[in-house]
């Protein structure tokens, strides 16, 4: 194998409940401005009308029209990728030949697939159904990027449920490290639907009111949607073209809980293994980490488990490391979550600010870390760890550092 290359983030892009753009998302996170509200695109009355993190209606309409996408996941991914490329100072029409995409998702183009299922019994227009089937594939958003940006390198779609976005950035990093690609668009995407809300409602995982990660009163999560995409480049090549690296991807690790299909390992075994793997991959110890972006869904089990896992990885230092969750800002965006949270880590490293965990007010004896209550905090962050956990016991951890 070729010597390991260094990989840097040179651009970021986002679509979320905070609106269009990574800047809108980051500002909402720093200001602690929650973007959750009752649904507008579908009726969720049967499920208690939960507050969700929908992409704002005007942004949604504009993206569907501008991208010409058949369903929203591809539209979100395309918009986030366009922004990330622009942010990186790259002309989307002239990317290096060895450019690829790795996109994580839970459901891919599911809304188109659902539409195709509805129309199967009335196939007056076979071409229309065929179009929906293609757009409905799990890999459809990744292939939409490949097609739009004429990517000729590796194009992968990965699906580790809610750890998908983190996994995608990690796998993309490995592609560049081994010299297979010079540039990879990496991130995650998912769009909301009744399907998802019904499922989490059935599992009694939805918050009854506010989402309160790590707070004693927490009782569930709020769902969201969107996309996060980062431009990853081989460091020397990025510097040669005059790009400004925003952060370096130092390490990535993943794991399986080997415990339960929907519940996390109570002692955080899988998260501990993923975090250790990321630190090992970066050839660094836990002492280097100065900020942790937690999965922090707001469910009783996840937040307790994650707090235990952080203490197991960082020992006595755990209580001195700021830990935040941005889920109250944009909701749990499933396949996009890890990618949006990597963008939070990039922002913390770039701007020396750690966003607060919104709605955290009453400490829980089982969640006894520094969750950055109240307001954002100024802090020089040279190493940030992002953690993700998922159904079926998948976990992923990404270590980002100052470039």
């Amino acid at each position: 194998m070729a010597p390991r290359q260094r990989v840097v983030v040179t651009g970021v892009g986002a679509v979320s409940a905070a609106g269009l753009g990574a800047t809108a998302f980051w500002r909402a996170a720093v200001r602690g401005r929650a973007g959750l509200a009752p649904a507008t695109r579908f009726d969720l009355g049967e499920f208690g009308a939960p507050r969700i993190g929908e992409v704002p209606a005007d942004v949604y309409s504009a993206l569907m029209e501008a991208t010409g996408a058949v369903e929203p996941a591809a539209a979100f991914a395309l918009a986030a990728a366009e922004e990330a490329l622009s942010h990186a100072g790259l002309d989307a029409s002239s990317l290096p030949a060895a450019s690829g995409a790795v996109l994580g998702t839970c459901l891919g183009g599911a809304l188109a697939a659902f539409d195709a299922i509805r129309r199967l019994d009335e196939t007056h227009d076979p071409l229309a159904v065929s179009t929906l089937v293609r757009a409905g594939a799990l890999s459809a958003p990744a292939h939409a990027l490949a097609q739009r940006f004429s990517l000729a390198g590796p194009v992968l779609a990965v699906s580790s449920a809610c750890a998908s976005g983190t996994a995608a950035i990690g796998l993309a990093t490995q592609c560049i490290r081994r010299g297979e690609a010079d540039l990879v668009l990496a991130g995650g995407v998912d769009a909301l639907s009744r399907f998802v809300v019904a499922g989490f409602w059935l599992l009694r995982a939805l918050a009854s009111q506010e989402v309160r990660p790590f707070d004693r009163r927490r009782d569930g999560l709020a769902l969201g949607e969107g996309a996060g995409v980062v431009v990853l480049e081989e460091r020397e090549r990025a510097l040669r073209r005059g790009a400004t690296p925003l952060a370096e991807v130092l390490g990535f690790g993943s794991s399986g809980d080997a415990h339960h299909m929907t519940g996390p390992s109570p002692e955080g075994d899988g998260v501990v293994r993923a975090a250790h793997a990321a630190l090992r991959d970066a050839a660094t110890g836990s002492d280097a980490v100065e900020f942790i972006n937690a999965h922090g869904t707001g469910t009783p089990f996840n937040d307790r488990m994650e707090s235990i896992a952080i203490k197991r990885v960082f020992g006595a230092r755990a209580r001195r490391i700021p830990v935040d969750s941005v889920k109250p800002i944009v909701g749990h965006t499933l396949g996009a979550a890890g990618a949006l949270e990597a963008i939070v880590c990039v922002g913390a490293i770039r701007e020396g600010i750690v966003p607060p965990t919104v709605n955290y007010a009453e400490p829980d004896p089982e969640c006894d870390l520094d969750y950055v209550p109240g307001e954002a905090r100024a802090l020089q962050v040279r190493r940030a760890l992002s953690l993700s956990s998922a159904f079926a016991g998948s976990n992923a951890a990404l270590l980002l550092g100052a470039p």
Partner: protein, 335 residues
Amino acid sequence: MRPVVLDPAPAVVAASVLTPLGTDPRALEPRPDPRAHPGTEVPVDLAQATGEPPLRLRRMDRYAALGLAAASGALRGAPAAPAGKGDPEWGLFVGSSLACWSSNARFFLEEERRTPLELSPALFARTVPNAVNGEISIAHRIGGPSQTFVSGWAAGAEALAEAAALLAAGGARYILAGGVEAPDDLLRRMHGALRGDPAQGWLPAQIAEAAAILVLTADAEHAATGPIRIRAFLRCHDPLGALSLARAAQDLPLPPVETLIVANSVASETLERWRLDLPGAERVIVPAATGEIGAAGAPAAAALAAARARAGRTGTVLIVARGVEGATLLLALAP
């Protein structure tokens, strides 16, 4: 495209294949006499193949059960086994094009037709593509790196390539890697609708179910027991991908190409259209034997390559996998 040459090259030390032809990878061998269509279902008792209690097996969908059956079969033939709860030295990489979509479609239709209280939370829990990783890791205590690839029909080849690269980089000691497809009637109807597009009319009429899982390792002690190793891979995303990759692979520092195994009908179509000729190389077309088996095609082909190598074949085997949307991957294996 840039080849990834693996050093150390991970070996295939065990394999399990479930196709409509049964469990013997040599059933994929070309035959002079065209046989009757083998059907689209795997003729295997999954309770026996998985060793799982009926109650636990009933909680899985066909996708997870087929994957678990193949993983269990591969581990039975492996020179080592996961130890403890969540062994971090063992990883699990699975690829699938359709993944859990039978369960997704069922949940979608139930949600449309029933009241919320009539819906099944257990069914929703199956609607993540990595459900197969969850079931396998729980059953076999696998706690190391875990990924699920859903890049269309090339996804099983992606799982093998990414697993091999991680092993070569020292990221795990063993990885179970392969592909699973479990189409049901509704998904077959959707596939039929896809063929309704004149541009896709060449697609095969049916997608069959299948699972193929290999045990890979670069560990010096156990790799020596494997008959064949994954030496390199190349991938790209372009209309002529299979052709470009097969040509580029001939420049790899490997023994002469003895066999070209085409894992999917879409790869076969590209190669035929452009008349790729690898002098002296036998061509094996997996879907000609099994019908289209999607992401399970490349791992099944790798199992066939391992069986042939165990029988004394020494040349390089190229496996080409390609999805409908253009993602193409070529694996180069040699003893």
